[in-house]
């Protein structure tokens, strides 16, 4: 536990002033921001070793900043620069290393905010974990912690390059840490084994804008995120909403289509066929329409591929008066289409005459049927198609996102 008072100490090497943002008995080292000398907080600020001071982070988080993460007040007390590459420091570029900001909260203790290629991960040490949970495990293995299944995504070693500010442990240049990382976005658990201890961390991906808001940093920062972090959630509210809506509407339209296919095909009230007949003299057939609340379906079939529906004249009459003439539909039908369906409505029930005539002297085989109480499938089929395509689009975007994941 500590107090939250800033104390200024002069560097024993260069005399520069060093700020200690908290007074915690767990603090081990304080590093001079001018010359990189690491002072032993526990033993009269003796100089332990020296770092060069050339690594920089492009994160706007700075030492001494106060901010809120997960509703807990923190102060940034230290910075640690790691890399999984063992290069001379001068050859490291910004994308080669990650920065751990050591945070301190008087009520919640120490925590870490890791910054790597624009991504922020908030982590804190946990103890309610089996000591050997991630020990001796392989990439792809799945472990369960707090009822969450985590997949091991990375096993690597990090090397410590540089520290700044105050730390609760003695970080030495070149210190090697074996890290096992298991992910279940937005959470991760990591296991770190160094020379002296084994520690488990529970980690959570936090969007940069939330960090900026918590630390009162103006959110005009460019999004520096490169790639997709292993704990990053697919974050596109519009696409996610669209996927939910399209999935529901796809299922709904499938059920409706099935229902209509089974129960909405209608009741046949007329069926006849002709072949080799001269229809120049119109044929009239009586049909009794008893339901006009739904659609009627006139279905014309021909086995003759060279048929021309525009050569026919079909209409429905009542009391010698043409109620429905199908010439438009017949003219618009494709020339060689063997089958056409015409959906229509009638104003009233009753007896009608179906009049069929043709310019052709010897008509090829045609079959004419009329059904009432018909539900058309095409609107629901279109709904299904739109939903399906929307859902496929979401899956494609999601897949592209997952391909970029580290």
């Amino acid at each position: 536990m500590s107090n939250n008072k800033i104390r200024v100490i002069n560097c024993k090497n260069c005399g520069g002033s060093m700020e200690m943002f908290i007074e915690s008995r767990k603090l081990q080292t304080l590093t001079c921001s001018y010359c990189g000398s690491v002072h032993d907080v526990q033993h009269e600020f003796n100089i332990l070793y020296k770092y060069s001071n050339n690594l920089k982070s492009n994160s706007p988080i700075k030492l001494g900043m106060k901010g809120k993460i997960k509703d807990v007040e923190f102060i940034v007390i230290g910075e640690i620069f790691y890399s999984d590459k063992l290069y001379p420091e001068s050859k490291l570029v910004m994308s080669d290393y990650l920065v751990d900001y050591q945070l301190y909260s008087p009520t919640h203790g120490y925590a870490t905010l890791s910054y790597e290629n624009g991504h922020y991960i908030f982590s804190r040490r946990v103890r309610d974990i089996a000591p050997n949970l991630l020990n001796g495990i392989f990439v792809g293995n799945v472990v369960v912690y707090r009822n969450i299944a985590f997949k091991v995504v990375e096993i690597y070693q990090t090397y410590l390059y540089q520290v700044k500010g105050a730390l609760s442990w003695r970080a030495k240049k070149g210190d090697k840490t074996a890290v096992v990382m298991a992910s279940s976005p937005p959470y991760m658990i990591s296991y770190e084994k160094s020379r002296n201890e084994i520690e488990y961390y529970f980690e959570e991906y936090i969007k940069p804008e939330i960090i900026f808001e918590g630390f009162n940093i103006k959110n005009d920062q460019e999004d520096h995120r490169l790639g997709v972090h292993s704990a990053q959630l697919f974050d596109s509210p519009i696409l996610q909403a669209l996927s939910k809506v399209s999935f529901i509407s796809m299922i709904f339209s499938i059920f409706v289509l099935l229902f209509l296919f089974i129960f909405g095909s209608g009741k046949e009230i007329f069926l006849d066929n002709w072949s080799g007949t001269n229809l120049q003299n119109a044929i009239s057939k009586e049909v009794n329409v008893s339901n006009v609340s739904h659609l009627l379906n006139l279905q014309l079939k021909s086995s003759f591929s060279g048929n021309r529906w525009s050569d026919y004249d079909i209409s429905l009459l009542q009391n010698q008066k043409v109620i429905k003439n199908f010439s438009n539909e017949l003219n618009m039908a494709r020339k060689k289409s063997p089958k056409i369906n015409i959906y229509f409505k009638l104003p009233s029930m009753g007896k009608y005459n179906l009049k069929i005539a043709s310019k052709i002297t010897k008509t090829p085989y045609i079959k004419v049927s009329l059904k009432q109480n018909v539900w058309t499938l095409k609107y629901f089929f279109m709904l299904f198609l739109i939903s399906f395509l929307s859902y496929i689009f979401y899956l494609f975007k999601r897949y592209s996102f997952e391909l970029k994941r580290d």
Partner: protein, 207 residues
């Protein structure tokens, strides 16, 4: 609280409300006297220094919730060790069940006293990461150290030994679910507490 009573401080006479039935030791918030429960009454044992105020997620008599259960801290003990101090908070839930909550810079554990029948290995015989089999469970030694009690506030269900040094050994079960803390005093007394670690971020103050 239905399981509490009101007494008067035998030293200053102030009325002390909500003294719970488990209380064996308490500190008068008015005069700072240490009151010990003996023969069905409280007796003053003199005064001790007030603990320095330190920021904490838990506050005496201010309820908090953890996993939808409400707890009220009614006493705390502060222990010092090589790199700082930790606190043991005596809390009761809404049904009057008692617990200890161990708090050390973000590490929180709920514990209850645990009766150990056989003698525990000495601290010097153990090493961090060593595994021992005890009470049917394999335990991993997670921390070893020496501590001493600095003082207390509020009400406690048991006597404490202020200023006396003891060795402590922390164990975590192999599965990580259980936590065992053993305190070994120089006179051979052993006290043990068994519990589980909790996530400080799931503890919420109840206003």
């Amino acid at each position: 609280m239905s399981f509490s009573k009101t007494i008067n401080c035998p030293q200053c006479g102030v009325s002390l409300n909500n003294v719970i039935k488990y209380t064996a030791l308490m500190k008068c918030p008015q005069c700072g006297s240490v009151l010990v429960y003996e023969n069905e009454s409280f007796r003053s044992m003199g005064k001790i220094a007030t603990l320095a105020d330190e920021p904490s997620l838990l506050c005496l008599n201010q309820s908090f919730s953890y996993q939808d259960v409400k707890f009220t801290p009614i006493g705390k003990v502060r222990y010092r060790y090589d790199i700082g101090f930790w606190e043991e908070w005596f809390v009761i839930d809404s049904k009057g069940k008692e617990f200890w909550v161990s708090v050390d810079e973000g590490d929180f554990a709920f514990e209850v006293p645990f009766d150990i029948k056989k003698k525990f290995p000495k601290k010097s015989e153990l090493k961090v990461s060593a595994t021992i089999f005890f009470e049917g469970i394999s335990w991993v030694v997670s921390e070893l150290g020496e501590g001493s009690c600095e003082g207390f506030e509020g009400q406690l269900p048991e006597m404490i030994r202020i200023g006396e040094k003891f060795d402590y050994i922390h164990f975590t079960s192999l599965k990580g679910e259980d936590f065992l803390s053993v305190e070994c005093y120089k006179d051979g007394t052993q006290k043990a507490y068994r519990g589980y670690w909790v996530d400080a971020y799931e503890i919420k103050r109840v206003s």
